[in-house]
Amino acid sequence: MYLILLSIFIPILMGLYLLVRKEYASRGRLLATTCAGLVLTGALAVASFTAAYGSSFTLFYLTKSLPIAFAVDEMSVLFSCLTVIVLLCAGLFSFEYMKHETKEKRYYGFYLIVFGVLNALCFAGNLVTFYLFFEMLTLTSMPLVLHNGSHEAIMASLKYLFFSMCGAYMALFGVFVVSHNSAVLTFSTGGILHAAAGSPSAGLLLAAAFAMLVGFGVKAGMFPLHAWLPTAHPVAPAPASAVLSAVIVKAGILAVVRTVYYIFGADFLRGTWVQTAWLILTLITVFMGSMLAYREPVLKKRLAYSTVSQLSYILFGLAVMGAEAVTGSLLHVLAHGLIKTALFLCAGAIIFTTGRTRVDELRGIGKEMPFTMWCYTIVSLGLIGIPPTGGFVSKWHLAIGSLQSAIPVFRWLGPVILLVSALLTAGYLLPLTIQGFLPGADYDYEHLKKREPSPLMTIPIAVLTILSVLIGLFPAQLTDWLTRLAARIL
């Protein structure tokens, strides 16, 4: 119990401390403090889901019917693992990257707070606690978006806030309706609304479920409220974009998982109009995200659009509500998290060393930064879904799961769109590799100089790349575990 609380509040308090204290005399001490905070939090998070696995407790009561409670289950473990890996890697990367940005203290302060809030989301034991930290996540991650303080960044963060508030409020509406129909809001596998299934309020509950899906889906960039994501993610500093794009959006996914499988229960929603509408929205998002990414010239923005599309792969799998598809989704949560972090860190490394942001400016980049570009290429292949990388396994399960399901039309339409989108993914990720390594005959080899970034940047990228490949090479155990998990929550 204490471990969980510590893993939440230590980073938050450290972050607050960093925010309010005076400027450090040397950069080294700031980094040392941050580093200590990150490692400590990571260790605490890991310790809490290993030592406190299966436990749950109530911290206090917000009102009589609204307890703030925490619990650790398999879903917590999955998301917490991802959070820890990504935040540690991106944090390490920031130590180098943030050299060319100002106001580092504020950045690390909020970075730590976000870490704490993400832990809280992973370990939240009921809907109210989850909602509470969900709102906090929006507010504490906003400073990461507006970090450089330019007009563009402020407008982007306001857009982020606006969409998130819209979403959170829609979700809150759902929470109210659910709490009106159920005495408790504790997450439990199979849902808590069995009694309400045939009752007259079922129609209202379905509407509430849809509102919650769309509302929480805002964080996960689901159509129609996805527009903030490509604006907000690229303006943040690269490691922050990585965190935003890889983990913070996953909070939206976690929210959807918790809502659908732990509150409503798959049986409640299966075969209703909500499922159909949800499937349509995800497929639109998958296609549209890839299409927009394909047409986008700025690298980081392209990656952000790619996030929109990839997240809806996950949501699609969840919407199918079959064991195989859910397994694929959960695997893709992990795979996409690692890959997208690596991609953003690569983009950050490129920006840091060359200062160039547009894809067409990056001709010959592979000759300048071969290591970074190799990693980029490997993880790109993963995102496209070419074996033997992580993305392949998850997409395989998604496609199989969709074909196995009995949903008319979508059972074959889904895989088709996923395939088309995979082609588009190749279309928007690989040109950088091709131009980077094969700049053409007219490329000026004379002035070529190797300028690989420092190890602080390359190591995180390498670690993430290796992990994403490992998932693809040895998926058996992980998949088994996820299949069991999927079977249990269905």
């Binding site: 917000l62 009102t63 509470l132 709102e135 400073p143 963060s157 409020y169 809150l172 109210f176």
Partner: protein, 497 residues
């Protein structure tokens, strides 16, 4: 223990005496008298609250020797004493928080007058809260208006006098309607004491007599109080009055004066007309609609505003809309939510006003947003407090505003016909709130290089910082452990009926 029954009367009398004594004192001494008065009243109200909670029922205190149908009475239950306690605390904090501005803004020889007015205002607020007599309520409404007008124009420039005149005109229209309404009610029932009127009204309704005069009288009283508490279409006087007066006045006006009228309306609904009769008249639908409109238009005006004080003032219009929306639900839950929102808004709005003045002070007295850039770094206390206030206004969990939002939504879910409009407008208004408050928070935390303005630290004004911290604690307490307060409100409303 029964001695506690005298406390409500004593606290009102103390205010009047303090006012009289202060009028012969110098500014500093008057301030001390006022502070002592507020602390004493806080303690007295707390005792009354504890007493009524322990007794589980309200009590009536007969003024003079005249028994029920003729005499004048004071009535104290859980809700009344809770309100009184809250009013005292907020007034104390607001006065201390704005003290430095007061000493700057008011002419040297006139400072004592400010505290005389404050004493009077408190007496009228407490009387409004405690009284059981309609005509007494009217008289104290007027006293309230006069002292509030004085508070607006104590800092003399053209703006404040004009604002005061506009405030007076609207208030007089409101109190005229209130007076006419209660005269008609007196005419119908032959009583002035609330409990007696209620019995007669119930009888009249049961017999089906005088339906139209009764409705007209209810309408007159409700509209009168709506005008005075600045419900949406009647809010034109508000931004100037709150925006240009000295900061303590703005805080007190927005968080207490308008709330005093709203509380009187609650008393009229429960104790004079009767909740069921009031609900079955169509008036609550009108209140509901105007509340909703206020929520949206107030926020829209606030977004357009380029002056931080006026922005906060417009936000009050929206928040008062919330309260009337709660009335308009016509359910117990809606009323509970409204009463809670009275408390939470009072705590938040005064915090925002006090914090805003700290921010403008470190920005060369400029209130335009562009000048406020980075003010949160120059005055860390005010910045943090403003952020907390904004989060509470937006309704982020852990702050008081969230609980209001929660209670409103729970009330809305229970009412089938009004659920959808209420929830939709609540959502829109939340988002609009988020836009302008977060815009401000981002603005004050956007760093600037080489600012011409000095910073302010704890050492410059310890009192100010302490007040802000107290406000923050109040807000978070309301947000985190709201259950006891909500229970008290429920109990208090039950005692009303």
């Amino acid at each position: 223990m029964d001695f506690v029954r005298n406390f409500p009367c004593i606290s009102i009398m103390l205010c009047l005496f303090a006012g009289i004594i202060s009028s012969g004192l110098r500014g500093k001494a008057a301030m001390l008298v006022n502070a002592a008065l507020l602390v004493t009243n806080t303690v007295l109200s707390a005792c009354t609250l504890a007493y009524t909670l322990a007794a589980g029922e309200s009590f009536v205190y007969v003024m003079g020797q005249f028994p029920a149908p003729w005499g004048n009475e004071i009535r104290a239950g859980v809700l009344e004493s809770l309100m009184a306690l809250f009013f005292c605390i907020i007034m104390l904090l607001s006065l201390f928080g704005g003290r430095h501005k007061l000493i700057e803004g008011v002419e040297e020889g006139k400072l004592y007058l400010y505290y005389v007015l404050m004493d009077l205002l408190l007496s009228s607020l407490l009387a409004l809260v405690y009284t059981n007599d309609m005509f007494t309520a009217y008289v104290f409404v007027e006293i309230n208006t006069i002292s509030a007008c004085g508070l607006i124009m104590i800092r003399q420039n053209g703006r404040t006098i004009e604002a005061a005149v506009r405030y007076m005109i609207m208030s007089l229209l409101g109190s005229g309607m209130l007076l006419l309404g209660l005269c008609m009610l007196y005419d119908l029932t032959g009583h002035l004491l609330m409990s007696n009127i209620k019995e007669s009204v119930a009888q009249i309704v049961a017999e089906g007599q005088y339906t139209i005069p009764l409705i007209i009288s209810i309408v007159l009283m409700s509209v009168g109080l709506c005008i005075k508490s600045a419900l949406f279409p009647f809010h034109a006087w508000l931004p100037d009055a709150y925006g240009y007066s000295t900061v303590s006045s703005a805080a007190v006006l927005s968080s207490l004066v308008s709330k005093g009228y709203i509380f009187l309306l609650i008393k009229i609904i429960y104790r004079v007309i009767g909740f069921e009769i009031y609900r079955d008249s169509r008036i609550i639908d009108i209140l509901f609609v105007f509340g909703l409109m206020g929520m949206i238009f107030g926020s829209l005006s606030a977004i357009r505003e380029n002056d931080i004080r006026r922005m906060i003032a417009f936000s009050s219009v929206a928040q008062i809309g919330y309260i009337y929306m709660g009335f308009g639900m016509g359910t117990e839950a809606g009323m509970t939510a409204s009463v809670f929102h009275i408390l939470s808004h009072a705590a938040t709005k005064s915090l925002l006003f006090i914090a805003a003045v700290g921010l403008t002070d470190v920005s060369g007295r400029n209130r335009q947003f562009i000048e406020l850039t980075g003010a949160g770094y120059r005055n860390k206390w005010a910045g943090a407090a403003f952020t907390v206030g904004s989060l509470a206004m937006v309704g982020v969990p852990m702050f008081s505003g969230f609980i209001s939002k929660l209670l409103f939504s729970q009330a809305a879910v229970q009412n089938n016909t009004k659920m959808l409009p209420a929830l939709i407008v609540l959502g829109i208004s939340t988002i609009l709130n988020a836009i302008y408050f977060m815009k401000t928070v981002i603005r004050i935390y956007t760093p600037v290089e080489d600012t011409p303005y000095p910073s302010m630290t704890f050492r410059n004004m310890p009192l100010y910082a302490v007040v802000l911290v107290a406000f923050i604690i109040l807000n978070v307490t309301l947000g985190v452990s709201s259950q006891p307060v909500v229970d008290m409100i429920r109990q208090g409303l039950a005692m009303f009926a």
